[in-house]
Symmetry: C2
Subunit: 393 residues, 2 copies
């Protein structure tokens, strides 16, 4: 059985995004123990840097030891108890996953449904809150990875607060890519993923809980149904009082080295600069795609810069075209998910994959591949459209 | 905020163990997508190599995307439903964690308790099975990481089978270190950890389910309470029929590179050779410790070679001595857990930490440190005792 040597891909799907060599190098540093004083110092740095990225002072801010789905489930199982009602906004695949989580907690999910590709309709949410005065939590996805639509997180949080409800926010694809203000917006529980705009390897999920959420966890009627995700135990390892940490589970040491390095790089760049970079590269890609004659799925005002869903041109065999992009250019883009399967492609410009060279390569590869597939597109104009945005100054 | 550069430790605690440079190098290979054809080839290799390590033909054999605690919880939440009865053997910390899992599934745990450091008493289990004819599962820890005691897994499985019960076995510290025969013993659900005798970085949990367990999962009355750990969903990603894998969660790509490499190394060495290596290095350490006048916690016949619990000599400040080992020698050994806190040290000889040099360094460091701490030990004899085992031929 030989060692595994992966091909050198260009990752422009919905995540994982390209991982910077500095982060990969950090992953390979020598393993130390999860109770080592040196590791405890890394944990403190990590929490500080996550607070910076989330724009929060929340004490309970740390990476969960699993992918974004673990972050999601950690938020739900700690804040939701049997018999609770949770209003869940669904305008893509991940709102549906929230519903699964609510129901598996023995709670009732009141669904606010919008079409895949639309933003969350604030009027519908307002009505759902009015109709369910005893609802405990409002849950929504800030950046829908399955569609590329952005929710108005600030307004949704204010609506929940006015009704005395908690909020659970999916920031898997938003953290580090677009403005996100945990404290200013008053988010109570939030989770993200390491492999999107933070550009670390997949497998970790930054989470943060407000003081109010912490109180709710501490005054639960019954134990959290998951031992692994029970924050009342996890906080004794990550947020011990008096410096004495209690072992809960063995932390994924080397993965945390990687996330630490990606957060160091985020601080070096600056959060606002990272947001601006994601926006600029998106505008360049968009202008190139539109010049080519392609159509974006999401309306301009609701569009995420880091996840670009485009409609597949008529007559193109989408799976065959994606396969050509992978074999000819080593370029990975994402297929449609759920209701959008076969209808859109998802092009990620996240983290280390949000660069002018990624935009340039993607436009060239798409143009060549679509032309070869017989699609009617405008030739020879996309690169100039992108250059105007990328290199204007 | 600077990058994190860990100190170069020698890991001889209860895990993580030292990680071989080949595994660290694999962690740093370029990230590819979790649906990439090249990654799907790695997944197939991974499952084959885990079947080799577990000695099983089980279809459902794969790494869970989290530490050993996720493997444990995956076994319980998939096989146990509210109202079920589970007989749990507890002779250390991890049997207690099993109890937590059973109860959080809404089931009843019938406990078979033995002292920390003793093996599981077969007569007590026999009685518990007779007293609970409707019990669905017998759960026990093969290698108790908190004490260093080995359970007679083969006999326990035969007793469960005779009573028509399923078995859930904790092999976190046993896989790759001591004989373990999933098919020959008829184990129904088993979980391990990447960071023990497999000597990979922490964060993954190899699991395997028998065909009988798979049937139980498929005929459940209600959904698994954890979406993340629901095997009926996970198997569509890891064990898809007809080659079409369905996305469940984003796999921890680079961590899986590491586990793949550690399994390649296990195959190169051979499973029986790895067992023999763990045994030989244990005997050398044991002879050295005994020559020094130290006492092992666990009776010879029940002792694990990979996890050596020794009683702390009278008058020694155990935390101060462990700190000296870490600062003077960069050597990490483990403290006692639970009922054994302050009473024993746990010295791991697992995976890449099971070598003659680890034995030699550990004996020298312990002798010097204990002598400096004023313990009454025999000086100048440990190394010769170890050499007789290590270099006899």
């Amino acid at each position: 059985m030989p060692s595994f040597n992966p091909p050198l891909r260009v990752l422009m799907g919905p995540g994982p995004s390209d991982v910077h060599p500095r982060v990969l190098a950090a992953m390979a540093r020598p393993t130390i123990g999860h109770l080592d004083p040196a590791f405890q110092a890394l944990m403190e740095d990590m929490k500080d840097m996550l607070r910076y990225a989330f724009r929060t002072k929340n004490r309970l801010t740390m990476p969960a030891s699993g992918p974004g789905s673990v972050g999601m489930e950690t938020c739900f199982v700690n804040l939701v108890e049997p018999g609770d009602t949770v209003i869940v906004c669904q305008n893509g695949v991940f709102g549906g996953r929230m519903k699964e989580n609510v129901e598996r907690c023995g709670a009732t999910a009141v669904m606010v449904i919008d079409d895949f590709g639309k933003t969350v309709d604030l009027d519908k949410v307002k009505k759902a809150i009015a109709d369910n005065p005893k609802a405990k939590v409002l849950a929504f996805v800030h950046a829908e990875t399955s569609t590329g639509a952005r929710a108005d997180a600030e307004t949704l949080c204010k609506m929940a607060q006015a009704a005395g409800m908690l909020t659970i926010v999916d920031a898997v694809t938003s953290l580090g890519g677009i403005p996100l203000e945990v404290d200013a917006w008053g988010i109570d529980a939030i989770y993200s993923g390491s492999q999107k705009c933070l550009s670390c390897t997949p497998g970790l999920s930054p989470i943060s809980f407000s003081a109010r959420a912490e109180q709710v966890i501490k005054s639960r009627n019954r134990k959290v149904q998951s031992w692994f995700m029970d924050m009342s135990l996890i906080m004794n390892y990550w947020e011990a009082q008096g410096g004495a940490r209690t072992y809960h589970h063995t932390a994924p040491i080397n993965s945390l080295y990687g996330l630490h390095e990606s957060l160091v790089m985020l601080k070096e760049e600056g959060l606002e600069a990272a947001w601006a970079r994601h926006k600029k590269n998106h505008m360049a890609l968009r202008d190139g795609l539109v010049a080519m004659g392609l159509e974006m799925l999401v309306a301009e005002k609701d569009r995420l810069p880091q996840l670009n869903a485009i409609k597949i041109p008529a007559g193109v065999d989408e799976a065959a075209a994606r396969k050509r992009l992978l074999t000819d250019y080593n370029l990975e883009i994402g297929a449609g998910l759920g209701a959008l399967a076969g209808k859109v492609w998802r092009i990620g410009l996240m983290g280390a994959s949000s660069t002018p060279n990624h935009v340039t390569l993607c436009l060239a590869a798409l143009e060549g591949t679509l032309a070869a597939a017989g699609a009617k597109i405008n030739r020879g104009v996309a690169q100039d459209a992108a250059r105007k945005v990328l290199f204007a100054s």
